[in-house]
C-alpha cells in the first residue's frame, strides 16, 4: 500500500525521441488510475518507468514517499500484469504463482497458504496443477493476476491486461479487475488504449498524447468538461461530432445553421489574435428528434433539417447518422484520432453526424428529419491549439453563457 508520485518524469531514448515529457502525477494510496491514449502516446513507457523496466531520463519517481529512480524492479515491491500474460510455460499454475514468493525466500507452508488463498479469490483452485499451455485465454489472464496479487505488493501495474481476450470475456474480466482492486485496496496503475475500459474502471483517468498528459480527472469530468479537442474526441463512444464553424458578426456559421453565442464567449473570440475559424463539438446524446421536445427544452437549443443516412436501433436508443453539407473540421488532433481509429483514409463527402435519439423517435432512413440540439452542451475549440474555449474554471458552459 503506497502512493506513487511522478514529478516531471521524462523519458528520452538514445536516438533522441522523447517518449514521455514532464509527466506530473500524484496517485493516492489505494487509488485506481488509468493511463489511456492512442498507441505511441507514452502510456506504456510511463508504466515501465514506474515498474523499473525502463530508466527515467529526468524527473523523480517516489513510491510511498521514497525516491526509487535508481532502484531495480525487485526492490520496488510492485507487481505487474502483462498484456501477453508472460506466464512461465515450464511451470504449473501453482509454481507460476509461487515464483515471486519463492524468490522472496518464504517458507513452504506460507507459500502454499498464500497461493491457495489467491487461487480461491480468482477461482483457480482446480487449475493449480495445469501448465499454462492447457489453459484458455481467460484462465491464463487470471493466473497472471494471481501471480501479481499473491505477494501483496505496494502497487499493481497492469499493461493492457484485457486486450487479448475476446469481447465478451473482456467485459466480464473488467468487473473482476474492478472488484479485486476494491477488495484489496491496492494502488493500481492500469494502461489501456480502450476508452471504454478507461471510463468504466478508473477512479481517475489520465489521457496522454505524444508523451504529454492532456488531462487528468474522474471519467465523468473528462467526458463533460474536456480541456481540449483531443480529450473531447478520444473519450466517448460514439465519439463527439466535430463541425467547422466560422466566426462572423458575433455568430457562428456552421453546417447546422447560424449559432448565436453568449457574451462571455463573444469577448473571448473578439480579441485581435482570436481565431476566425473554430471547431464546434457536440456529443451524440445532445441531439433529439424535434418532434419529441417540449417548449421549455426547445428554447435552450436550436433545430436543423438533414437527410437521414442510417438508423441503428439499439433498443434503448436509436443511433441516427446524418450527412450535413459544408466544410469538414480539420485539426491535427482530429487527424491523429482518426488514424488511431483506423479511419484516416475513410472519408466521404461532407461531414457525417452521429446522433443518439430517443427510441420513440419515428425516424426512418432516407427521409429528411428535423433535429434539435442542445446549445448548453456544445463545445468550441480553437483548431490551432486545440483548447476548449467554452471551458471556464474547468467547467464547460456551452455557447450561450453570459
Amino acid at each position: 500500500m503506497a502512493d506513487i508520485v511522478l514529478d516531471k518524469v521524462s523519458k528520452k531514448f538514445p536516438d533522441g525521441t522523447v517518449a514521455v515529457q514532464d509527466v506530473d502525477l500524484e496517485i493516492a494510496d489505494g487509488e485506481f488510475v488509468i493511463l489511456v491514449g492512442p498507441s505511441g502516446c507514452g502510456k506504456s513507457t510511463t508504466l515501465n518507468m514506474i515498474a523499473g523496466l525502463e530508466d527515467i531520463s529526468s524527473g523523480e519517481l517516489r513510491i510511498a514517499g521514497q525516491r526509487v529512480n535508481d532502484k531495480a524492479p525487485r526492490d520496488r515491491d510492485i507487481a505487474m500484469v502483462f498484456q501477453s500474460y508472460a506466464l512461465y510455460p515450464n511451470m504449473t499454475v501453482r509454481e507460476n504463482m509461487a515464483f515471486p514468493l519463492r524468490l522472496a525466500k518464504l517458507d513452504r507452508a506460507t507459500i502454499d497458504a498464500k497461493v491457495d488463498e489467491a487461487a480461491k479469490v480468482l477461482e483457480l483452485t482446480p487449475l493449480l496443477d495445469r501448465k499454462p499451455a492447457n489453459l484458455s485465454g481467460g484462465q491464463r489472464q487470471r493466473v497472471a493476476m494471481g501471480r501479481a496479487i499473491v505477494r501483496q505488493p505496494k502497487a499493481f501495474l497492469m499493461d493492457e491486461p484485457l486486450s487479448n481476450l475476446d469481447a465478451k470475456l473482456r467485459v466480464q474480466m473488467r468487473t473482476v479487475v474492478s472488484r479485486l482492486q476494491k477488495q484489496l485496496g491496492t494502488t493500481t496503475v492500469y494502461v489501456t488504449h480502450d476508452q471504454t475500459e478507461a471510463m468504466t474502471l478508473g477512479d481517475r483517468v489520465v489521457i496522454m498524447r505524444g508523451g504529454a498528459v492532456q488531462q487528468v480527472g474522474p471519467p465523468q469530468e473528462l467526458y463533460d468538461h474536456p480541456r481540449n479537442l483531443f480529450v473531447a474526441g478520444f473519450i466517448g463512444s460514439p465519439s463527439m461530432n466535430f463541425l467547422h464553424a466560422a466566426v462572423s458578426e458575433g455568430r457562428l456559421r456552421t453546417a447546422l445553421g447560424d449559432v448565436a453565442i453568449g457574451d462571455r464567449l463573444r469577448r473571448q473570440i473578439e480579441g485581435a489574435d482570436a481565431p476566425r475559424e473554430l471547431i464546434l463539438g457536440i456529443r451524440p446524446e445532445h441531439f433529439e428528434d424535434a418532434e419529441l421536445i417540449d417548449e421549455e427544452t426547445r428554447r435552450r437549443g436550436m433545430e436543423f433539417d438533414a437527410p437521414v443516412d442510417i438508423v441503428e436501433s439499439m433498443g434503448s436508443d436509436k443511433y441516427v447518422y446524418f450527412t450535413v453539407e459544408g466544410e469538414r473540421a480539420t485539426a491535427a488532433e482530429l487527424e491523429e484520432l482518426a488514424a488511431d481509429a483506423g479511419a484516416a483514409d475513410f472519408a466521404g463527402a461532407g461531414s457525417s453526424l452521429v446522433t443518439r435519439l430517443s427510441a420513440e423517435s419515428a425516424v426512418r432512413e432516407g427521409e429528411n428529419r428535423r433535429v434539435w440540439f442542445n446549445l448548453d452542451k456544445i463545445h468550441l475549440f480553437d483548431p490551432s491549439t486545440g483548447r476548449n474555449l467554452t471551458l471556464h474554471e474547468g467547467r464547460a458552459a456551452g455557447a450561450l453563457a453570459d
Partner: protein, 278 residues
C-alpha cells in the same frame, strides 16, 4: 482422385527416402560388416561376413593406444563442449537481448572465424603451442576446439533465445528476480532444447576433428581416436590392420549415437507454448 494422387505422391517420396537412406548407410554398414570379418575373408567382397568374429574388437581393446585415445577423445570433447556451450549461451543471450556498441562487429567476427580455413591456422597454432608448452596436452586441443565451436554455438543459441518472449524476463524481474535468477530459472529452462542441440553439434565437431588432433599432438598423452586410428598397424609389418581399423571406427560412432539419443529426448518442440497470449 485426390486420394490416388496422395498415395502415388507418398510412394514416390517413400522411394526417394529409401534411396537416400540406403545411399548414406551402405558405407557405414560395410564398415560394420568388415569389422566382423576374419583376416582371411576380408577381401572376399561379400556384404555379409561368411565367418563372424569378434577378434578385431578384442585386438583394439587389448592395445593400450586405442583405449587411451578413446579416453582422450571423450575427455577433450566433453570439456570443450561444456565450455563452448556455457560461453556461447552467455554471448548469445547478450546478443539477442542487448543493444551494445560493436554488436554487429562481434557477430561478424565470430562468423569470420567459423569460415576461416582451419588448415591455414594449423602451422601458426603449432608454433604458438610449442612456445607456450601447450603442445601435446589436453588444453592444447580444447582451446582451438572452443574457438571454432563458439561461433556455431553463438549462432544456434541466439536463434533460440530470440524465440523466447522478452516479457517473461520482465515478468521475472517484476516478481523479484535478479538478472541472474531470471536467466537461470526462467530463460535457461526454456532455452534447454537449444542448449542440447548446440551441445550435440559442438560435441560432434570436437569428436570428429582430425586436422588439429594430428597436428597438435605427438604422443598417446593427448592423441584422440581419429588420429589413433591412422596410426593403427598390425602385429607385424605384414598383417593387415583393416579389420581393426573398422572395428575402431564402429566403436567411436557409438558415443556419438548415445550422445544424440540421450539429448534428442530433451529436444521437444513447443516448450514455450502457453507463455504468451494464445
Amino acid at each position: 482422385m485426390a486420394t490416388e494422387t496422395t498415395t502415388r505422391a507418398k510412394l514416390r517420396w517413400g522411394l526417394l527416402d529409401v534411396i537416400v537412406v540406403v545411399f548414406a548407410l551402405i558405407p557405414v554398414l560395410w564398415i560394420a560388416s568388415l569389422s566382423f570379418k576374419t583376416p582371411a575373408t576380408l577381401t572376399d567382397g561379400k556384404f555379409w561376413p561368411r565367418e563372424w568374429t569378434l577378434d578385431n574388437y578384442r585386438t583394439i581393446f587389448d592395445t593400450d593406444q586405442f583405449v587411451r585415445a578413446l579416453a582422450n577423445s571423450i575427455g577433450i570433447a566433453l570439456i570443450a563442449t561444456l565450455i563452448a556451450v556455457v560461453l556461447g549461451a552467455m554471448a548469445a543471450y547478450a546478443i539477442s537481448r542487448l543493444d551494445f556498441p560493436g554488436k554487429k562487429l562481434l557477430v561478424g567476427v565470430s562468423l569470420l572465424i567459423a569460415m576461416f580455413p582451419q588448415v591455414s591456422l594449423v602451422s601458426p597454432l603449432f608454433e604458438i603451442e610449442r612456445q607456450l608448452g601447450l603442445f601435446d596436452t589436453w588444453p592444447g586441443l580444447i582451446l582451438p576446439y572452443i574457438t571454432f565451436a563458439l561461433p556455431l554455438a553463438i549462432y544456434t543459441l541466439s536463434a533460440f533465445f530470440k524465440q523466447i518472449p522478452w516479457d517473461l524476463e520482465k515478468a521475472a524481474k517484476m516478481d523479484g528476480a535478479t538478472q541472474g535468477q531470471a536467466f537461470r530459472r526462467v530463460i535457461a529452462p526454456l532455452a534447454a532444447p537449444g542448449l542440447f542441440t548446440t551441445a550435440i553439434l559442438v560435441f560432434i565437431f570436437c569428436w570428429n576433428d582430425f586436422l588439429f588432433a594430428i597436428s597438435l599432438t605427438s604422443t598417446e598423452r593427448s592423441r584422440t581416436v581419429p588420429v589413433a586410428l591412422s596410426f593403427f598397424t598390425g602385429e607385424s609389418q605384414f598383417e593387415d590392420p583393416i579389420g581393426a581399423i573398422c572395428a575402431a571406427a564402429v566403436v567411436i560412432t557409438i558415443p556419438i549415437i548415445l550422445f544424440v539419443l540421450f539429448f534428442q529426448r530433451r529436444i521437444v518442440s513447443g516448450l514455450t507454448s502457453g507463455a504468451v497470449k494464445g
